[in-house]
């Protein structure tokens, strides 16, 4: 009897004293066939929701996790919202106590603190079909200065006529809550253009950089746009005469 009471007491201490919570029914149900229309799960991702607080929306399906890898900063509290597109899976960080079942129709929410940079394997420990043993992902807890939720996209001309300006539409999205102070750097041919920017938290900054093609000269020029660790690059052709549809140079999207 003493033993039993002691055990129950320990568990209660863990719950009350240490704040260890069980996965439970706080999340509403969700239809697995409509994940693509769901605002949280149509784009599985990590989001910052507070200072050092993050939310990760994860979809488990045979036999992968999305996103993979998941990246979060150190010293953060991350809530994982995990759901399944098909059968029952699990979302388990190997070698830790972060471990939950993932049931289609339900959203498992588990919160954990990550104090130090680390790499964890994410595995499915519930049999989910013939490729079950291949179902794995990674979670990287990265140093704070290496972590960002910045997204860079660049739309640029493919071809410009000698003498015209080549334009680069740069969009920087800051997914974090703090302002992002950084610089956009464009290198094209021998030219370098730099612009210091401050992207407000949870906001997007758009700018257009222009380069006079005369400075570049005729020919193909590789270009690169850099914001912190993110780069986009492509090639710009400067030609004597645009062959056809002369002014209609809405330039194809850059290559990734």
């Amino acid at each position: 009897m003493v033993l039993i009471v002691g055990i129950i007491a320990t568990i209660t201490y863990g719950t009350v004293g240490l704040g260890i919570a069980m996965v439970d029914d706080e999340e509403d149900t969700i239809s697995p066939s409509e994940l693509d229309e769901d605002e949280r799960f149509s784009d599985p991702r990590v989001e910052q929701v507070g200072e050092n607080e993050y939310e990760a929306y994860v979809v488990a399906q045979t036999f992968i996790y999305q996103p993979d890898p998941i990246e979060v900063p150190e010293d953060s509290e991350v809530t994982f919202y995990v759901t399944s597109r098909d059968v029952i899976h699990s979302f388990s960080l190997v070698g830790t106590n972060v471990n939950t079942m993932v049931v289609p129709g339900e959203v498992s929410s588990v919160t954990a603190e990550f104090d130090e940079p680390a790499e964890y394997g994410v595995i499915c420990n519930e049999y989910c079909g013939s490729g079950h043993h291949d179902m794995e992902g990674m979670l990287y807890v990265v140093p704070e200065d290496e972590f960002d939720l910045t997204e860079l996209s660049v739309t640029a001309d493919d071809e410009v006529e000698l003498g015209d300006d080549a334009t680069f539409d740069v969009t920087v999205e800051n997914g974090q809550l703090d302002d992002l102070e950084t610089a956009i750097e464009l290198e094209v041919g021998d030219e370098t253009i730099e612009e210091d920017v401050t992207v407000p938290g949870d906001d997007t900054y758009e700018t257009t950089l222009t380069v006079d093609s005369t400075d570049l000269g005729e020919g193909d020029h590789d270009w690169t746009v850099t914001v912190d660790d993110h780069t986009e690059s492509g090639t710009l052709s400067v030609v004597e005469d645009l062959e056809d549809d002369e002014d209609d140079e809405d330039g194809g999207d850059d290559d990734e």
Partner: protein, 77 residues
């Protein structure tokens, strides 16, 4: 001990149902399961020790752990 052995052999000689009364008959009132209590106490101590070890060393040392606040679960609110 040795006398017990002899008695056992004597029983065999009689060819009776030896092991029903192999050495001596112990009734309910005279039987004191001291050995059982010893073993069970040892087992309990082991269980208690291992429980504490598993919970406080293996489990709590296996960070990160799922956390949250009591009351967020509707059941206990």
């Amino acid at each position: 001990m040795s006398s017990a052995t002899e008695q056992n052999q004597a029983d065999q000689g009689a060819g009776g149902p030896q092991l029903d009364h192999p050495v001596r008959e112990i009734g309910h009132d005279e039987y004191d399961p001291i050995g059982t209590l010893t073993l069970i106490m040892l087992y309990f101590l082991l269980l208690a020790f291992l429980w504490v070890f598993m919970y406080f060393v293996e489990f709590l040392g296996n960070d990160p752990t799922v956390i949250g606040w009591i009351g967020t679960g509707v059941g206990m609110a």
